[in-house]
Symmetry: C2
Subunit: 274 residues, 2 copies
């Protein structure tokens, strides 16, 4: 749609599986997996078309039969990550606990593949796994009783907070070891030694800073967000218990597991053009 030039063939139409010179049979999935492996093993910078071609045993330009450009490939990698994160998540019916669990999963899922998360966490893919995630989270919120407009606002804040912290912490994790060690030491070596007369607040809290700053702030931030959301819900519903089926009609759990599986097993279901 963007480019005038398209040698990409939609996955459904692929029939001829011609092997490359080295005997490998290419596929979109194989390429995505290999890209993930490359990123994990050699860092985000290692993901270049040429190196990916080399790792696959194919000419680099062969990739352009599967993905429009490198950005398109990156989106596919991102969606694969989302899919892996959601694969075995199950809602319990307690919206706050469910969202907390989901947020922590997204966060730790990204940290498990920091290099890939850094590259892809800020993208809107519009692909199958992402759509499933959106549907599920909205279902949890509406099922809890949030009115539609409010549900969307909370959804947006929740998701972007998770993605933003994931990217932040992933970037930190993915730093070259030397830089990483240097940054860790800054809190002890620099902040903890500032004199109380010039920096009284840092000096007074130095002990807490050294202890606290080495961990991710995401759990704290997540709990603060969920707490504020719960307070709003209490206001909105006027103290009513939040367990009852809201506008979503109590189908919130329904959209989770079965659909998620189905989406994962077949070919990409409704998949938009890119």
């Amino acid at each position: 749609m963007t480019s005038t030039n398209d040698r990409v063939v939609p996955p459904a139409a692929r029939r001829r599986r011609r092997p490359t010179k080295t005997g490998v049979v290419l596929s979109g999935e194989l390429i995505v997996e290999t890209a993930l492996r490359l990123i994990e093993e050699h860092g985000a910078d290692a993901l270049t078309v040429r190196r990916l071609g080399l790792a696959l045993g194919a000419d680099p330009s062969a990739l352009y039969r599967y993905f429009r450009d490198t950005d398109d490939l990156l989106l596919a990698v991102a969606d694969e990550l989302i899919g892996r994160t959601l694969r075995d998540w199950r809602p319990t019916g307690d919206w706050r606990a469910d969202l907390r669990d989901l947020g922590l999963r997204m966060h730790s899922g990204s940290l498990a593949h920091p290099q890939a998360a850094v590259l892809s966490s800020y993208r809107v893919t519009g692909r199958a796994h992402e759509i499933q995630a959106v549907e599920t989270i909205l279902g949890v919120l509406r099922g809890a009783g949030f009115p539609d407009a409010e549900a969307v606002r909370i959804y947006h804040a929740f998701v972007d907070q998770a993605l933003a912290f994931a990217a932040l912490d992933a970037a930190s994790t993915a730093l070259p070891p030397a830089a990483r060690a240097a940054e860790a030491g800054v809190w002890r070596a620099t902040y903890a030694r500032l004199p109380a007369d010039s920096h009284p607040n840092i000096a007074a809290t130095a002990r807490h800073l050294v202890h606290d700053m080495r961990r991710s702030a995401y759990p704290t931030a997540l709990d603060l967000l969920l707490g504020a959301a719960a307070a709003r819900l209490a206001e909105t519903t006027g103290g009513e218990r939040a367990a009852g089926p809201g506008p979503g009609g109590g189908h919130a759990p329904g959209t989770g597991p079965a659909d998620g599986r189905a989406a994962g097993s077949g070919p990409r279901p409704p998949g938009p053009s890119h």
Copy 2:
């Protein structure tokens, strides 16, 4: 320190101001300013060594007399940005309004220079401007009455959330125009058209999604975080008014502008190797 190879001359030692072929007299500050202008005027992708050289009227390789590599240049640009963000901020005494203002400033400051923000937001520099920011924010929180441990936890969540959203939104802003347009369209073209029977929650809220997702969720997330913090403070202090000067002693404004200026004019102050 990283590289064996260094044609960079420390700023203090510079004496000969030899003009370039086109008559321009280079300096680290001029280069940083020009880099910022380039990013502003022609987008994040416009910042390349070659284009910067062209914009300066100098050979691209001349830049390597001032910065070790492009990363070094970007950190200098980021440092300049922090300085500008804090330069004219003044606390009012209302901790919640102050933190809200500060958060929004950090966020919008990053969005004005997305490329620099993306690359630098997750680093702990230990430099003058950063230290100043830590001291100031901690002062606001302690002045509001938060106990030390709690102040540090809120500080951490607040700062990392601001940085994380800044990086997230900056990354989105820094996308190549084509990709950026494509993402904006995904919500209308894909999500708004999903059938209600397969994706009931998305279908029910499609109108809100299209409207809400084009804006940053940071203001919402920020307000949620501050609201939750206020609730905790109310619990802790047992409903006491938060206006009085707490342990921080209300000196928060004092350390700001003078230090910032001084640090900017000389060579890099204490800077860790990173």
